[in-house]
Every structure is written in C-alpha cells, then in structure tokens.
Amino acid sequence: MGPDSAPDPAVPWRKVLWERQPFPDNYVDQRFLEELRRNEGIRQYRYWSVVKEAGFVGQQLSCVAIFITLWLYMEQGRLSPETLLWTSLVCALLGYGLYQALTSQVEPGCGPRTRLADLQSATIFLSFTFGFSPVLKTLTESVSTDTVYAMSAMMLLAHLVSFPYAQPSPPGSLSLNAALFASVCLASRLPGALHTFAMLSCALLVFALWPCLLQRLRENAPCQFAGVCLGVCIVGVGGLGFQSPGGAVLLALALMSVTLLCPLLLVRLQRHKDNIQGPWDEAEIHEDLSRFLH
C-alpha cells in the first residue's frame, strides 16, 4: 500500500498548504518528521556530581537518626539535659560563627539581619520554650505511648519526604513543622521539664539551623561540604550503632542506596530517555511579562 500515485520527482515537495502540489494528500516525503528533535536540552549527569548532591539527602537521613539517638540516650538517662544544653550552646555558637564567616565572604554587610536581631529571636525562642516546657511535657499525657511513637515516626518521615533538598535554606514550612511536631511528641515522653526543653532546643538546632548552615557550605565551600556530609553520615551510623546495631546496619544500607545506588540508576537509565520535541509543541514564554503589569 503506497501513496495514491507516483510523485513527479522533477518538482520538489514543499511543506506548504497554500500551494496545490502535484502530490496526493497522503504523500510522505523524505523530509517527513525532519524537524523532530529528540532529548533536546537534556542534562548529562556525571556520577560523582550526582553522588555529591545525593549526599545532602543522606546527611538529612543521618540527622534524623542522630536526633533519635540523642532522644534514646536521654530517655535512658545516660545523657543529662545539662550536658546536652551546654553542648548545643557550644555547637550553636560555633555554627553561628561559621555561618557569619561564610556570609561575609560573599556579601559583606548585605544581610538585612543584624546580630542583635539574631540574638533577640534566639532569646525569645529559648525563653518561650523554657516557659512552656512543663506544658509541653504534659501535653500528650493522655495519649498512649504507642500512638506518640507512631505519630513521631510518621512526622519524621513526612519531614524527610517534604524537605526541600534543592533549596534547604530556609527549610520548607511543612518539613520543619513536621519535624518540630515529632520532637514535641518525643520530648513529652522524657522524664523532666528540663529534658523537654533541652530536646526541643536540640531539635531546633538539628532541623532548622543546621540545614541553613549546610546550604551556605554547599554554596561557598563545595569540597568541605562533601566531607561534612560524610562526617554526619558516619556520626549518625556510629551513634545508632551503640544503641542498636541492627538499626545502624539498616541505616548504613539506606545511606548507601540513597547516595550510591540511586545516582547510579539515574545515570544508567538516562540513556533510555526519549523525549520528542517538534514544531507542534506549545511555545513557552520565557520572558518575565509581569514587568508590564507591576
């Protein structure tokens, strides 16, 4: 079955409709689909760069593990709240210094927030948490412990799923809220009000401030960033190892698959990608047209 009649080779076919051409309507020219483009603008990933990006996911997983480990130590009474508070304070000060150093490297004096404002918000947060910690302590008393654990597990999972890995500074509201909700749930199961306060400050440090610092690090010092991620992962696995070796093995496997296996799959499967583009595609407006309105 072919086109209705043999085309006249003397006249070349043109892709126009206004001209009556000596070809049947179902004529298929050599140039059919010549404007078809495949996989245009596709990104070729390199394995190690993908691994580096995936490191962020891995370290966030480890952060959650570290937080749970700390909570376990607290619950068993092997870590006093005072120690945790002092360590947190030192870490926070160190991190703040590092953050300031990294900021001033790039944009000196550009930040709208002064140190006084930072101090102010830190004081407000700490005093409120301290004041409310007895309330938070008894908040979930009427709820069964199993429910609290299940709830915290769900919320931590939600935190990991909804975390904006591409742009973690500031952390997304859903992920941050889920993490803080989980930490309030867990902290309320600790023996004393000071324990709760220490746990919540620690949660703030791990889930709110640490990603901001890490993002700065990723922007300004990519080499150190990889090292820090690796370090966090090792600390997470190691810390969990003292509490439950099985958990540590599972975490290590999860970290391996997230940081090593998944990037490998992404890079391998990339060559099977088959995107079709052509003149029929809807044109995209790349310009910022809102400037005409505002």
Partner: protein, 491 residues
C-alpha cells in the same frame, strides 16, 4: 418493501432512478457515499470544528453524497433537525460531561448510534476532533458494526506531561484500526503520526478552508489617521494573550497613533484590562468581548494589521480570515502556521514580545511609507487558496479510497489492538471490543435490523430535498419533506 430495494440501489449507481437524483449524480460517475459525521461539537456550539463539519457537509451534499450528522443534545435542542439543503442532524440524548464533550463508557452510545447507522444506511463514518469522546465512541462502534471509518484531527498535542501521555495512548487505541486519518496541516500530520504510532501513508493532509465571500475587504471602514491592530481570538493562555499584554504597552508608547481592537473572551481578559488600566490606554485599546461569527468580518475590516500571538496552532483559520479581509498579518511561528500563508502575506516572528514588536514595527514602518499592497490585492491572493469545494473534493477522494478497504473482522481487530497498543492497554481494549461486539449481538437480537425503518433520504443520490425547494410547502420543513417523500415511498 420499497425501502429494501432502494437500499440496494444506493451503492450501485447504475441502477439509480434518475427521477429523484440531483443532476450531479448523473454527470459524475464516481461512487456516492452515505456519510455520517460524528462529533460532540456542532451548532449551536461555535468554533472551528463546528464550522468545518458544517461547511464540509454542505459541499459534500452539493457533490451528491448523502450526509447526516450525529452530535449530542444541546439543552432543549434534541431529536432530529434539518439544516440548509437537507443536512440532517441527530441530536442524541447523551450525557455531557465536561466542556461539551460527552461522558464515555464505550458502550452506552451503541444503541442510538447503531440505529442512526442502520436506518441511514451509512457506509462511511467520519469522526471529528480528538477532544470529542462521542467521536471516539462512534469510531469504536462503527468498527464493531463493520463500517469504514475516518477520523479528522483538528488539534496538536505535546508529549511531555502525564495527561498527554494518557490521551495519546487512548488516541493510539482509537486510531489503530481506523481506515484513514485526515489532518489539517503537515505539522498536525507529523504530530498525529507520532502520537498514535500510525503508518504515515494512511494520513492525509487536507487543510481547513475559509469562505472568501464572508471575508471581503472594505477600506472605507478604516480610519486613515491611525493604525489599527486587530486581534481576534479566545483570551486564553494558549493563544499567547500574555505576550499581547507585553506588546500593547511597548508599541503604544512608541506610536501615539496606534490602536488595538481585541475581539474575544476568556480568562486572560483580566491581563489586558490591567495593562490598559496601568498605561491609561482606554481610548486606544478596545476590548470587544465575545464576537459572533457574522460580526468578525465587520471588526477585521476596521484594522490595518492582524496580529496572532498563539503559542500552538494546528491550522490557524484566523490569519487566513485576516488576510482575506486585506490585512497585513503578523503571527508567531508555531505549529502549522508557517505552512498556511505565503511569505509575502505574513510576517512570522518568534513567540517573544521583542520579536513580535520588531515584526509589527516593520509593518507599521511600511504602512507609513505606503509600501504595503492594497487590501484588494491581498484578498485576491488569498481568496482562492482555501475553499471548501477543494476540501470536499479531497475528502471525497479519501472516502473513495476508504470505501474499497476492508474493515477488520473481530479476530484480526483484536490481534491488531494487542500488537499495536502494547500488552496492557491492547488487552484491555481488546476485551472491551469483545464486550462491545456481544452487546451489538444482543441489540441485533432485541431489535433486528429488518424491523428498523430505513430513513427517507433528504440528501444523496436519492435525496428528496431538491424537490422541496420548488414545492409550495415551505412553512415547516419537516412536513414538507414528508410530503415530497410521499410519491416515492408509496410507489
């Protein structure tokens, strides 16, 4: 039983009675078809597909074919209606789901559509528009009944998002055993061939047409102390109204004598209103709102330049209408638009504000220097490019070709579905096809074909409408048809 005999005569021109047949049928020896056009979109709904079906049907009737149209009921308009020249329209009571498209279960429309196909002795089913569920249903049922099928695709789809992946799969299923497909431009053909994984040789390109007598230039309507840019389109994102919102302030600030005349309605109207408000252009940018088809020409002739900012378009009727009214056309280079008008009648630009502004500015400069061709000469160039007669002739060839092809019997249809549409979708739809076939058998047992009265032809070789034209009974078309029908039936 005079019916039965005539039913046999329809497909056999040599045994035709000349008495009722129009003159063309005698002159042209080619075969006459009984065509059923099926689409969700028909009058009173307005749009490109609707007018395409109507105009094509009218030209096919003129050529001596019998044409009926099946669509869904629009409000109180249900049942059977006759339009100009005996074009019979079945408004079937099917439930409308979304955007004037009917809900589909693959089965529920079979009894009514079968009834239409049997009583009208349909030989070719021609479905229109991939957005129409009823069209796909009709294709499916027609194949089950064993009729030849044709599908006309009027739109372009992408491949990138999830919804288009799904619709493309459904299109593959719907078209894999359709005899022939018609597209409105070469770009549309490439798109359809890729989407439905078709053999390109069963896809014909037949462009849309414009009635040139509806769109004639009238330079007296123009105001010579200003330059008017006309835009007529639905005000939606796909038509690039955001681009228009950028072009208006750019050009209006540069050219104080520039005016915009914008016809159409849609959700993006707010963008244009905001622009007009912000730059205080109330006297220079007029938003006319939704236009009736008959008013379009009156708006077009007031302008000097026609602007089309579409982001995607299979075949842009609007630019042909604009050129036919003698306007300079500026358009984006997307979809099938570059194929539509020759280079000297259209200025093609990239779909960006800067490129469109540059294109418009060259035309404006040419206007000021007076070096643009006169509206009458543009109209003369365009008027014979796209005519419905030509479209009907080319569609007729497709019908002739399809009439000679066989409709796949059930077992081969199942094989084709499974080999062509993938193991999962293919198997599902093969199962649906079997169910549909069983349903058809049930219907044929409940109401056998021989108990269905064959309809009296209004059009086609034995059409009776021509007699009606001369008869006195014009007050009520339905009764008049029946009166005209009377002597033949009782013979």
């Amino acid at each position: 039983m005079g019916h039965r005999r005539r039913a046999a005569a329809v497909n056999n021109p040599s045994s035709q009675r000349v008495s009722g047949a129009p003159a063309e049928a005698v002159r042209v020896p080619s075969r006459k078809h009984n065509i059923c056009m099926v689409s969700d979109f028909f009058y009173p709904n307005m749009g490109g597909v609707e007018s395409h079906i109507y105009q094509l049907s009218q030209c096919l009737i003129e050529k001596g074919h019998k044409v009926v149209i099946a669509t869904h009921a629009y409000g109180r308009r249900k049942g059977i209606r006759y339009l100009t020249n005996g074009l019979k329209v079945y408004y079937l009571p099917l439930q409308v789901m979304y955007n004037q498209s009917t809900a589909t279960t693959c089965f529920h429309s079979l009894p009514l559509l079968r009834c239409v196909f049997v009583r009208e002795r349909i030989t070719v089913v021609h479905a229109h528009s991939s957005f129409s569920a009823m069209a796909h249903d009709a294709l499916f049922h027609a194949k089950t009944i064993g009729l030849n099928t044709i599908f006309t695709d009027h739109s372009l789809f992408g491949f990138a998002d999830v919804s288009s992946v799904l619709t493309n799969k459904l299109l593959t299923v719907s078209l894999c055993d359709t005899n022939h497909i018609v597209c409105v431009s070469y770009t549309s053909k490439e798109n359809t061939v890729l989407r439905a994984a078709l053999n390109p040789e069963i896809v014909s390109v037949i462009p849309n047409a414009v009635d040139p007598t509806d769109f004639t230039p009238d330079p007296s309507q123009r105001q010579d102390n200003r330059i008017t840019i006309v835009v007529i389109s639905r005000l939606v994102y796909r038509k690039g109204i955001d681009l228009l919102g950028g072009i208006i302030p750019e050009l209006c600030l540069k050219h104080p004598d520039l005016h915009f005349l914008i016809g159409g309605e849609g959700p993006k109207r707010i963008v244009l209103e905001e622009v007009r408000e912000k730059y205080q252009l109330h006297d220079r940018v007029r938003l006319l709102g939704a236009l009736e088809h008959k008013d379009v020409c009156g708006v077009l002739v007031q302008g000097h330049i026609f602007l089309n900012t579409s982001l995607t378009e299979a075949f842009c009727m609007a630019i042909v209408e604009g050129a036919s009214c003698g306007l300079q056309v500026v358009s984006t280079r997307v979809g099938g638009i570059p194929e539509v008008l020759p280079e000297d009648l259209i200025t093609l630009c990239e779909p960006t504000v800067r490129s469109l502004c540059a294109g418009l500015e060259t035309i404006i400069a040419r206007h000021r220097s007076g070096s643009v061709p006169s509206p009458a000469s543009i109209h003369a160039c365009v008027q014979n490019l796209y005519t419905w007669r030509n479209v009907a002739e080319r569609t007729e060839k497709v019908y002739d070709r399809v009439a000679g092809e066989e409709v796949l019997p059930l077992h081969r249809r199942l094989q084709r579905l499974r080999s062509h549409c993938g193991p999962v979708a293919g198997s599902i739809f093969a199962f649906v096809a079997v169910l549909n076939y069983l349903f058809l058998l049930l219907l044929q047992w409940l109401v056998p074909d021989r108990f269905m009265d064959k309809a009296v032809d209004a059009t086609g070789p034995l059409g009776l409408w021509k007699q009606e034209q001369s008869s006195k009974h014009r007050a009520l078309s339905k009764s008049a048809t029946k009166k005209a029908a009377e002597p033949k039936i009782s013979r």
